[in-house]
């Protein structure tokens, strides 16, 4: 694990402070009966594989090989599409809240 921090897969030297994940470790509580995707660099467990891919891109950006960069980009794009759908719903909810209250105030 620590080897990955000193130089990345392409042989470039990575300053130690780039690896944010190595410095702020979290406490985890991993269930035994669920699939777990673990980061091979910092050991963090994830419930979904796309979160592991995203995590690699966010926390170990300089230590990825070309394939990992590609999977990060794919996961990011998929997430972007999901976020776009979420935003539409959020906007709908906002409009509902706003006009709902406006109507109540107008009636009273």
């Amino acid at each position: 694990m620590s080897d990955a921090h000193e130089s990345d897969v392409r042989g470039r030297d990575v300053p130690a402070d780039v690896d944010r994940a190595a410095t702020d470790a979290h406490d985890y509580d991993v269930p035994t009966d669920e699939p777990v995707y673990r980061c091979d660099r910092c050991g963090r467990p994830f419930a979904r594989e796309d979160w592991l891919r995203l995590h690699r891109g966010i926390d170990h950006p300089d230590a990825l090989d070309d394939e990992e960069v590609e999977t990060y980009r794919d996961a990011f794009a998929d997430e972007q599409a999901e976020i776009r759908r979420f935003r539409l719903k959020a906007l709908g909810a906002l409009i509902l809240i706003y006009f709902g209250l406006l109507m109540v105030y107008a009636v009273l």
């Binding site: 702020d24 406490d27 985890y28 592991l52 906007l91 009273l108």
Partner: protein
């Protein structure tokens, strides 16, 4: 880029619309302090729903900001400033602090009996508990240098016993609940000699404690007021730093990982939120009506107040932990519940600050002239106490403070979630339970603020 700009435009438009709506609601709202809280002219349920909806809407608005680097940049932004003549300023502040303590002890026993003309009462409640607390979260925490007990403790010899780690922050949790209970049940704000006696007792406990465990440990880990001020100071835009001041955006320091470092600290933050609520709750007619049958059934009022204090605290703590466990599920994360509890506790400080401001700003402005007058003539009561009359729209400021505290908390929790989770939508989902808890809490606190104020009953 164009898409981001479009979303920004939508976000701004919705914010303005939401604020217009909030403004309209608060124009009808109550007013705090001596000028009497006015009754709300819109139905209470609608007024509370509007407040809750404003918090829910601000969660939805925050969820539009999904740019990780933008969030990090906002929270990392800071400037450094040098303090001219720093040593002189610190020494002067220490002298002011010790002089203040001496004034409370002397004037409390020897000054005028009328509380609103007595410097001890005005200095403790108006200057310190209202004014200095406000400056701690609005500007920065000056208490470490002003704290007279800290200054005195450094002059005394110290045994430097090691503080038992298993105690953690629990003594300060008990101390905070105890101090606020004492403030509510005793006529500390009306009886200058009693106040001076209490301050003398607190002085003895604090100086002995600091001498046994060392001032640094005592004020960091045990002393409740020092801890309250330190936490409030994290909301503020200015912090003392090695050799100078650090200026940042308000609230942004609350997203730092190491601020709350255990379940005991979580319990302290929740206690701080609860005691600010309790303080207002005991002056509502509803509390009086709840108390009446209990007291007539023979329960001593003091016990009833203590039970109310403890029951409410357990309720708040349970609600918070419930939100933590629910958040673990909605975010499908393996991060331990304890860590989630630690990271999402600091936003509550912004809420506590907003609520404190709503509760005390009117009171402070009201009595600030009386404080200034008493400071000039501490031993003779003036013919008439100077009081500042506040305009009617001032009640809106109190409601705005409650809402602003919540909006800041929503944002800080959002930023913290982005720091914790790899998935952006996962970060947003982690906030569903916390947002629900905050909507509930906003409605409770707006209800308290809008209630007509009655004198604390049965004491």
């Amino acid at each position: 880029m164009a898409r981001r700009r479009r979303f920004a435009a939508i976000a701004v438009a919705v914010t303005v619309a939401a604020l217009a709506l909030v403004g309209r609601a608060s124009a009808h709202g109550g007013s705090l302090g001596e000028s009497a809280r006015r009754t709300v002219t819109v139905p209470t349920w609608l007024f509370l729903t509007t407040g809750g909806a404003a918090v829910g809407a601000s969660f939805l608005l925050a969820s539009f900001v999904t740019d990780r680097s933008l969030i990090e940049a906002i929270h990392a932004w800071h400037r450094r400033a040098r303090v001219p003549a720093r040593r002189v300023a610190v020494a002067a502040a220490r002298v002011v602090g010790v002089a203040g303590l001496a004034a409370v002890l002397v004037v409390g026993f020897l000054g005028p009996e009328e509380p609103t003309a007595n410097l001890a009462v005005l200095l403790v409640w108006v200057g310190w508990w209202a004014g200095l607390s406000m400056s701690a979260y609005l500007l920065g925490n000056a208490w470490p240098v002003l704290n007279p007990w800290r200054t005195l403790a450094w002059l005394l010899p110290s045994l430097d016993r090691s503080y038992p780690d298993r105690f953690g922050a629990w003594p300060s949790v008990a101390g905070l609940l105890g101090l606020v209970w004492l403030e509510v049940i005793s006529p500390l704000a009306d009886d200058p000699p009693l106040l001076a006696t209490t301050v003398a007792a607190y002085t003895a406990v604090t100086l002995v404690g600091a001498a046994v465990f060392g001032p640094a440990t005592w004020f960091r880990r045990v002393d409740p007021p020092a801890r309250v001020f330190r936490y409030y100071g994290r909301v503020a835009p200015v912090a003392a730093d090695e050799g100078g001041l650090r200026v940042r955006l308000p609230g942004t320091a609350l997203s730092e990982a190491k601020l709350v470092d255990g379940v005991d600290e979580v319990a302290f933050v929740v206690a701080l939120l609860w005691v600010t609520t309790y303080d207002g709750l005991v002056t509502t007619p509803a509390w009086r009506d709840l108390l009446l049958p209990v007291v007539t059934a023979g329960v001593p009022p003091l016990a009833a107040y203590l039970a109310g204090m403890l029951f409410g605290y357990v309720f708040f703590l349970a609600a918070y932990w419930l939100a933590v466990y629910a958040s673990r599920r909605t975010a499908r994360t393996f991060v331990a519940a304890e860590e989630l509890a630690r990271r999402f506790a600091p936003p509550l400080l912004a809420i506590a600050a907003g609520y404190h401001l709503a509760h005390y700003l009117g009171y402070f402005l009201n009595l600030a002239p009386a404080l200034a007058e008493a400071a000039l003539t501490p031993f003779s009561a003036p013919a008439a106490v100077l009081v500042l009359d506040l305009p009617g729209w001032f009640g809106g400021v109190a409601l705005a403070a409650v809402l602003l505290g919540h909006l800041l908390a929503i944002w800080v929790a959002h930023a913290t979630a982005y720091d914790l989770f790899a998935g952006r939508l996962q970060a947003i989902r982690s906030q569903y339970p916390f947002t629900a808890a905050m909507v509930l809490y906003t409605m409770i606190s707006l209800w308290v603020v809008s209630q007509p104020e009655v004198t604390v009953p049965y004491l």
